[in-house]
Amino acid sequence: MAISRSLGVRVSGISSAIPERTLTVADVAQIFGAVEARKICENTGVQTRHIVPDGVCTSDLCFAAAERLIAEIEWERDSIDALIFVSQTPDYVMPATSCSLHGRLGLSKQCAAFDINLGCSGYVYGLWVASQLLAPGNVQRALLLVGDTVSRIVSPEDRSAAPLFGDAGTATALECDPDAAPIVFSLGTDGSGQDHLIVPAGCFRKPHTSETSKRSEREKGNIRSDEDLYMNGAEVFMFTLCEVPALVKSTLKAANWTLESVDGVIMHQANAFMLNHLANRLHIPTDKFVLALEAFGNTSAASIPLAITHTWSNRSPNQQLRLLLTGFGVGWSWAGAAMTCDKMTLPELVVVPDNALSEEQRNAA
């Protein structure tokens, strides 16, 4: 695995935003029946998911998270040197959503902005890229906006995907700090897995036609189109068994950490069955293993920062936290980070009302 260290970089704050509207197990039961809904939800560990209303984008959630974070950490907007947006649900094919967000957030013209197209591994990749950009006298502050609205690319009648995914957007502030502990990364990719977790059509390889958008019955009665997300759950599970234990071990080794010295292990919140299996395999103590799926579902790229907000937003900012983060999935792509958080602001979860989002959109348009 590729090993990388970022020196003199502090994560100053993380905030997360979710839409107000929810779907519950009862909604899953309406589509698939009560017995199947119970089995699915027992397996995934998901009881409730927050879902955006029609027309609301990942950027709208990230915007709300960013506004909250900037206010809490009291950053001057013109002190932000770089903006990175990580998502697989951007506003447009072009321009980059980071450019749109740059305008909405009122950042300076001296600010660099670009997108990264990754999902489950995206938060850790984003941390890696952002922290590598920072250097004293150069880029001193970066804003990393990470999220997804997978509900918008899932067929409601596909039992392998619909009951699992929720929407969220997050913001992470990074800045130069010579006293900060190094952040250590371990990263990898296996593109041979691309077909197991994919939206096959609607972009350039297989552009939209009336056929690609037509939903029809696929395996096991699941109904979707080629423009909906397809997930082969068994292949995803197999991939995690093969790669995640090695990812955890290589990240710990590169940081010279042990599981005993870690305060929290935060994996991409894929589903509870998978995470519990991995925790058992790796002998991760339950009090250190973060499970934050029940109220949110799998929020793709947002799941790690959302889990951090959910677990630690009430703690004192001065409490040091040694966190092991691992993101893994669509690609296949994976990345781990050993990160010591000190003086990190974690605002309470932002719940964005439906009407506020529509207003936001009107302003953005």
């Binding site: 068994a234 197999m238 069955f273």
Partner: protein, 82 residues
């Protein structure tokens, strides 16, 4: 692990009474077979034998006995096994 114990684990996985699953059963025709139990079976094999057997290998095994053969020395026939 003895074959009889493996069959009992399959009973548990498929939510069947003890002793219901037999070596000659066609895996994908077992009551309770689903995409979720396929994942459960991958997890069971990983947990019990530390073998990462992919979905394709499992789906290519027609019967439970064929799956046991794929798992090789991990499962012994034992005296009580059917």
């Amino acid at each position: 692990m003895e074959k009889i114990d493996f069959l009992l684990l399959l009973d548990e996985l498929f939510e069947l009474d003890d002793g219901m699953t037999r070596g000659e059963d066609v895996i994908q025709e077992i009551d309770g077979w689903s995409s979720l139990t396929l994942i459960g079976l991958i997890a069971l094999i990983d947990r019990e034998f530390e073998i990462q057997l992919g979905p394709e290998s499992i789906l290519n095994s027609r019967t439970v006995n064929e799956l046991i053969a794929v798992l090789g020395d991990s499962i012994t026939s034992g005296k009580q096994a059917a």
